[in-house]
Symmetry: C2
Subunit: 107 residues, 2 copies
DNA sequence: TTGTTATATGCTAATATGTTCATATAATGA
DNA sequence: TCATTATATGAACATATTAGCATATAACAA
């Protein structure tokens, strides 16, 4: 009787793969530093240094978090010389982030 | 020049209060156990024991996580004798959860 | 009151997470 | 080649998180 599929597409419990992806993604959004980085990348792409200077976060911290976000395919980058320009890579997740920010602001 | 307000309502950086609420809420959604509980509460209210039995999670764990979710006002409960029936208490966050689950499934 | 069922709580151990420092790599220009 | 700028990485540390056990509380029935 477990995992009974409802008409509306919902299940009583989620399969482990979905659960993993969902929790990983929300976890990515659950850290202030990563939220600030993604929020900055909302409108424009940024070099690592731009992020470091705009948000006043140490370079290694930014780099670590960008790797984290890149592993989840939430950001991507392009190279120009020695400079890497990062931008967001998941419209849907960015939309979800925007919704949550709006939700938080309206309180 | 920091915290410049854009036409579209976005700021270069978020104020700390918003940042706190957003990260707290995403953190709540970033744990598999809490996701499973909220997903179960999507359609119907559940007693603690129903959650325990349906999801096969220990009672103390469920209780701890329900307290966590209640502190963030993501769930509420009503009492009936010795039984507490929990239900979700934030439509918007539930919608965001649904979106992320759908997003994860479509991959 | 005592027992029973349902739920909450305090504590602890294991694990995960985030930041920092120091250093490595990579591209480029002199 | 060497120096410089931009970024990444590894290790260490502090802190946060999670689950589980044991026990407490709360409501109710006998």
């Amino acid at each position: 009787m477990e995992d009974f599929e409802y008409e509306n597409g919902f299940t009583q419990d989620l399969d482990s793969e979905t659960l993993f992806i969902v929790s990983q993604t929300f976890k990515a959004l659950g850290d202030p530093t990563r939220i600030r980085i993604l929020n900055l990348l909302f409108n424009k792409e940024c070099s690592v240094n731009e992020i470091v200077e705009t948000l006043d976060i140490r370079q290694s911290t930014v780099s670590h978090q960008l790797r984290f976000l890149k592993n989840l395919r939430l950001v991507k980058f392009r190279r120009e010389g020695t400079t890497l320009y990062y931008s967001h890579d998941d419209e849907h997740v960015m939309l979800i982030l925007k919704q949550m920010i709006d939700h938080a602001c309206h309180n």
